[in-house]
Amino acid sequence: MLLSLPALHLQTSEYHPLFQLPHGRRGPWCSPSGSPAPLSSETGCGEGSWILVCRLLVPTQVSLLSMEEDIDTRKINNSFLRDHSYATEADIISTVEFNHTGELLATGDKGGRVVIFQREQESKNQVHRRGEYNVYSTFQSHEPEFDYLKSLEIEEKINKIRWLPQQNAAYFLLSTNDKTVKLWKVSERDKRPEGYNLKDEEGRLRDPATITTLRVPVLRPMDLMVEATPRRVFANAHTYHINSISVNSDYETYMSADDLRINLWNFEITNQSFNIVDIKPANMEELTEVITAAEFHPHHCNSFVYSSSKGTIRLCDMRASALCDRHSKFFEEPEDPSNRSFFSEIISSISDVKFSHSGRYIMTRDYLTVKVWDLNMENRPIETYQVHDYLRSKLCSLYENDCIFDKFECVWNGSDSVIMTGSYNNFFRMFDRNTKRDVTLEASRENSKPRAILKPRKVCVGGKRRKDEISVDSLDFSKKILHTAWHPSENIIAVAATNNLYIFQDKVN
């Protein structure tokens, strides 16, 4: 399977490191500029493959270490590649997101922590280390809360992280749990003032009688310290659980969506938000549909989409009315009567919706498929990809063990030519929209040595199982890849498997 690379980052004089292909060789899959070596992952041979760059763990102790100011947080890097046995449920990664340049990668976990990784800078000495990500900052974003009126806990689990585009030296991101969205500022400090008049070196006030001279504090370099501070807290606006946040292209507003409502916020105002979608019925007895995901259009700040548990997508225009209960466009595929079952509605429920970078398409993920829709065509998707159709005959078991309710996410690559989504058994799938080929890869410790090429996996549906195939009944449904991310411009992907974060890149880089 050959994936076309974006034209960036490639030099035509480069040989493929593994197979020593002559440069300038072209095939039908090359981009017009002649960039060589597209990706191939069918059997590992061919002109390109995915390799593991690093596997990162987030052990509980990291957050404690980073609190101590005199430790260079970059020293924690080394600890990540060791095997920690005290991974707890709090370490389960619940969201992954690259920032707009791809320099930073943020993860949120069930324990309410955010860990930000930064890409290793390219250096002449260690060319091969480029592409690795190291810990940049760790902070506790959300704490568990207790709602006393309802006698219910509010989980601290981070549901989503979204970066703001960078406008100055600091980085800003939004993180949310079920009820509260927070805006965090992540900034570096590498100088500190020294030589105060009134304070001594430890910060204690000096006895005024001992002060005999006047001096101006001087900024001196110090070990780099990365601090995260909460700049805004957007609370008390959601009765139901927040499932999505999305930054608007105007960079002044963002939306947060829960099961029944979507609110529009201004970053500067935390005590008010506009309700722009409300699908709560007056009589809750009539509730049959909930909002599952929402996203702003990447370029048109007035447009957004939201998906529902009935497999529909609505495109709304905020210029039309203040409350966007009436959609501008309604996307729904007619049901296939031959596949009808009691589980039809459940598996049609959309778990994720993403605009393409171009803004022309939307991609939706339901339980068994990924679909690409053209915004100009509402009656059916233009492309449908089967993620794990072999599960169709197992729906009852998956309903029983609740796996049928798993919410998988989906992502576009930078050029909108490849889409990726996760599956079970730590498998994840990539689909090339141009060549219509697909690949299944696995993110697991046993099968990945650093820098080794990932071997494509195959699930055997019935009959004879070949040597490298795995049968459907052997799949581990507790190992699910729900969250993945793709670098905005390069072929670098981040895959979250429980408490592990895998970073893979295209070997040609």
Binding site: S151, T239, H241, M284, F342, S393
Partner: protein, 245 residues
């Protein structure tokens, strides 16, 4: 369980004209299909009951399960296998007897006849009163409303399924506090929810005491009385006092 539904459970829609003859007859006639469908119904009802008592359950999941249960009930009603016993329900159209989502999601608390008034919702997606547990079609089915209040009468009929339900109830009950505090702690918090007050839902539902907007609101008809009514009245009264203050 995986073998139970070979390729998902197919059902025929009534509008599917040419296939109805063979299809419906074929699917209906097979006892295995009815059994499968029944067990799916049972499983779904259990799922609605097994809610996390500490954390608010997933609304999407609850809605999907409730929709599945409705689908099954619709089909069973069309098949004629969903029989209703309560006399007051006799005159109504079949659709009225469909279990509303709120009843599906009633909280589990009054078993053993201790507190006949089921609490209707604590802002969660609570479980199901035992009376509504999916009685196999061969046995008498109560109307959804009456089943809420008849806690123990036909317990003996339910067999194995009830046994497992009992276990669930026991574990749930062991978590609940004493009765008086329980009365208020489990009162649906939507009484304090501005939404509930503004939409006038508080204390006005047919079930006699306000139901949660977090949970689904009550069914179409008032419950047939008996001993629970006085308890319901008390609860309602208490709630009204709370709301008015």
């Amino acid at each position: 369980m995986g073998t139970m539904f070979a390729r998902g459970l197919k059902r025929k829609s009534a509008e599917d004209g040419e296939d109805v003859e063979g299809g419906l007859a074929g699917t209906q006639a097979t006892p295995s299909y009815s059994l499968q469908r029944q067990s799916l119904l049972d499983m779904s009802l259990v799922k609605l009951q097994l809610c996390h008592m500490l954390v608010e359950p997933n609304l999407c999941r609850s809605v999907l399960i409730a929709n599945t249960v409705r689908q099954i009930q619709e089909e069973m009603t069309q098949d004629g296998t969903w029989r209703v016993v309560a006399p007051q329900a006799a005159g109504r159209a079949p659709l009225d007897r469909l279990v509303s989502t709120e009843i599906l999601c009633r909280s589990v608390r009054e078993q053993e006849g201790e507190r006949p008034a089921p609490d209707v919702g604590d802002g969660r997606m609570p479980g199901l009163v035992p009376g509504l547990s999916a009685v196999p079609s061969a046995q008498a089915l109560r109307s959804p409303q009456s089943s809420l209040w008849e806690v123990d009468s036909s317990r003996e009929n339910r067999g194995g399924f009830q046994k497992s339900l009992d276990q669930i109830f026991e574990t749930l009950e062991s978590k609940t506090p004493g009765s008086v505090e329980e009365l208020f702690s489990d009162v649906d918090s939507s009484y304090y929810d501005l939404d509930a007050v503004l939409t006038g839902m508080v204390g006005s539902t047919q079930s006699g005491h306000g139901s949660g907007l977090q949970a689904f609101t009550s069914a179409a008809t008032p419950p047939p009385g008996s001993s629970c009514r006085s308890d319901l009245g008390e609860l309602d009264h208490a709630v009204e006092i709370l709301v008015e203050t």
